[in-house]
Symmetry: D2
């Protein structure tokens, strides 16, 4: 039922939505992979054409999703197997889609979001546990540190516009002009369409940050076009938009009534409403009070610590691996984790 | 439509619900008051009989609600006029319903909630700005401080059971045995039924904390029976239970469809469902994923600072006033603010 | 006794030191002012020549010090009279020494320091309570806000290099290139020479931040030369360098022994040591363990909140006043506070 | 030179002091142990008689010190080998000196100190990472959890009297009456006499907390006498009292001058001063401004996170081991780590 709005930052959910409606989307390819040992499911959604981008309402590029049902369980503070998988995916993305030559790379990691709103604190918390080394490399040089290649890592937390008076994009652009990284990795808390994905899904996209995405609804795009540097976006959905909850509920109501054979004609009747009448219905339904509201679980404080540590460890592992990779002769030699 | 569950910690909302359904509740009395100068609306719900308590599902006692639409606007950090009103109500409650004799009183203020979950941080933040003086009074005595009467104020934040291994009620009971206060004031973030009450309503109840209430769903009652000391509860709704949002949405859907004359028979049909069939419908509808989830606005970080400061200032003013009141001869002399 | 090292970021202390030794410093002028109503003492140290700069070991410029003995007392959370004085001085400095024409100005306020080390948290805490408006002005424009002139205010906290991998100076320079402010105001916690100045002195200097200054020992200078924009530095000493404490103690020991007539020849004997021998003495004395250590009072948590709020309020007042000032015809019309 | 005051919470430093002066202290026994594999040095100071207690100015009991020079190095976030050693010592102390029978024990861990003053945040930070289980045991019981014996662990942070109006001791006593633990473990940041011990020494004492000890100068003793329950105190020195630094400096000055043969008679002259004259000297020397001041290193924020995590992991390991130990038949069976 297309007239119901879907708010989701997850490409996977958007694709699913079309599959539910048996709509084929040309220009969008999917690859799935089961990692049985680690109990993870990896899905790659590749939007390959402009047409596919228009329908999916997301830019062309590659969107990898790690689904880790166990991420919800407390496990010695974080989930190393998820961090390892994240590192693998990141390295592959960087080596194959972003850079094609062997060189020392400089990475700026940006933690988007608001430290003071618990479900939006993912980015800042990841930066807290990130191992930065740019200042050490600048001071001592890589040879003094005993390696032939290094990945220079720096990190920043732009904060929120209400506190700084500046857009995240402006601050990041200014810093980029100063430190000239080869790559930006942006960490952000996302909004999902369904609560069943919350806090157990990681999306890695080589298309950067999309306007309107994130818990904070970012105003600007952060990508190669706007920043002049490739941007990989890593996101975990921690909230569901309240209006989306209501939309889905309505759908479920109608389907449930159909199944219960309570009102066999109801779905038919509602379907017979034209778009305009349905939107009227929806508008009266979704209280304007739900604008700017989100739904999040009560134990979000424990969860956000755990998932942010999982991401920061994934980044730290990835940067270590990239440095070693750069030492190897052939560039398609993948390091075993 | 009674079969839809209402989760609300606000007595006012419960009463409204019955009024909507034109149900008269015996044993419950309401008084309203407009404070035009300060743009506040005060409503007193007095549950006077056991029957009223049973219907309202809240204990017998007095529930005063301050509705302050302006509390949403940033105003020099906090809203003094709301603090002043809160102090007035508190003093009146203490002088008339809790204590009836002139004496120095000792108050323990308890900040319930979880500092690390933004909408549940109200209690801990209030304690941060509370002026405590018990240790000063113990050290120097009231006469050395130049007054005849004092209100001894102490404060505590029990934290969360997952962090301490102890129930808030256990910790408070232990502290009470040690410092022997005459009164406990418990501050808590509440769940409301509707988003339109969020962050602009303050409820002051002389019945203490009710099991199941609060963002954190308190397990124990905190009142005169369980703690041996009168408990006044001050709460501000900062979240709406996600399941409640869905319930209300269904109701609105059906009413909206009726009004739009889309399906004139729908409401009749749904009303014809017996309770069991409707509950089935509701259960399939409200995804189990919504359990333990709440809805809260995005700017909750600014808001929670502002409203907690408003409450702490109200408390500080109230304690100052009670001290002075105790100096006056006749106990029905109300101090002018 | 010049051989003892003085570590101080306060120009006032440096000047005093010379006065104690009856050394006249040419090229350095002092003006004192008593503000009896507010119980404040204002001292202006103006280093006017290169010679003066060399002797004082501080760049040429104007250093205004507010001494506020009462700043130590808790007073309704902060000290408005100090904020007002700070605002006056800031406005005067900006109007007369930094800008000479009427125009809308854009200010970037930078909170230097480390939020996680209590005495070094001054800068970040000031930014927390700063009223920024740049984003509002950009969105709505000044005329929509009903004024003819505005001061655009933005704020940033560069953090610490160990966390970001970037120097504060690099980050600030990058942001400046992006938002193009006319003025930078840098807030920093300082090291004083004597504990009697701690937390009750505010230094406002139009020379920016000096390398080696601040609790964090800033590596780079932040001034018009390095950033391309005038920089006003506001600092409050919150620590004393541990080595400085020891130096001063030695001096006091010798003077005390002289006065007590215990060893009349001691001071003479010690004075007879040549510089090299004394430095040897000092080196063996000042345990290398004292490097990188500072002295700070135990109640630093309360104090740092109070003084940072005093500074942020001073800034907020100053920006309001500058905006109004810009509306007045003659530029030497000083607004009455 | 006894007239110089020593402020130290470390029994080891007090004993060393006497050894330096070649003073034999009867009733005090020392045992040293090198743990070469882990690069740790363990020293046990056992004060066995009242005479020993009077001279040492510390109560009778056992004081174990772990010296871990590597604790200063960042090592994957914390130092597991130190945690393991701490757990071993704790288990031994509990099994042999506190409890002598096999039974399920209930432990209350108390994090003393002020979260908002970085070097005093050790206690609260340890509680943050402590694994509490009392609430789970109460709910499900140990048999449902598949063990025959459990150690019930709860934790609390009393905060500071200026914030609560209550002494830590009062709060702890009240909680003890409520949850009835068999043992209290109190974590506290200490003051050492010398900077060379800071942040690399852990003292475990079965005598609880001594009045006047700790960065916060605790007012009350927390021990079996005052709380009715055995108290084990775990402390790490994070500061040196500023006055102590000055005292030691004076001593070093005199010794240095002697060695440098600058003033051969100086030490003799100063030694000829009687106690009263020296105290006069000291008093004029140690500026009253140094009261309530402490010395701490600049990187205290990183350090305090690292050492508190090391302690919390030591506690978590100890409690796991005690539970298993309780399952074994003979109570002198030591579990191998």
């Amino acid at each position: 039922m297309e007239q119901f709005q879907i708010r989701t930052d997850l490409a996977l959910e958007t694709k699913e939505r079309f599959e539910e409606d048996h709509v084929e989307v040309r220009g969008v390819r999917i690859e799935k992979e089961e990692d049985e040992k680690r109990e993870l499911q990896i899905t790659k959604v590749m939007i390959e054409t402009e047409n596919g981008a228009k329908i999916m309402k997301k830019p062309r590029g590659c969107y990898v999703t790690i689904e880790a049902p166990n991420l919800m369980e407390p496990d010695e503070g974080y989930h190393r197997e998820v961090s390892v998988k994240l590192a693998e995916i990141l390295c592959h993305l960087i080596e194959n889609r972003v850079f094609t030559e062997d060189k020392d790379i400089k990475v700026l990691v940006v933690g988007l979001g608001n430290r003071e709103v618990t479900p939006d604190a993912l980015g800042p918390l990841v930066i807290e546990h990130l191992h930065v080394n740019r200042h050490i490399l600048k001071e001592y040089g890589k040879y003094a540190m005993g390696v032939d290649h290094m990945v220079s890592v720096s990190g920043m937390v732009p904060g929120v516009m209400a506190q700084t008076g500046m857009e995240s994009g402006e601050m990041i652009h200014g810093i980029i002009r100063e430190v000239e990284p080869d790559l930006v990795i942006a960490i952000d808390a996302l909004a999902a369409r369904s609560t069943k994905r919350l806090n157990r899904t990681i999306q890695i996209a080589d298309t950067g940050i999309h306007p309107g995405s994130g818990v904070g609804n970012h105003r600007q795009a952060l990508n190669k076009e706007t920043l002049g540097v490739p941007v990989i976006a890593i996101g975990i959905p921690t909230v569901v938009d309240a209006a989306t909850i209501v939309n889905d509920t309505m759908k479920n109501l109608i389907e449930a009534m159909e199944e219960a054979k309570v009102l066999p004609t109801l779905s038919g009747s509602l379907k017979s409403l034209d778009e305009i009448e349905t939107r009227q219905l929806v508008r009266e339904l979704i209280s304007p009070n739900l604008n700017g509201m989100f739904v999040t679980p009560k134990d979000i404080d424990d969860t956000i610590q755990r998932i942010s540590y999982t991401v920061s460890e994934g980044l730290n592992l990835a940067f270590l691996n990239l440095a070693e990779y750069e030492k190897k002769p052939g560039k398609d030699t993948k390091k075993e984790f």
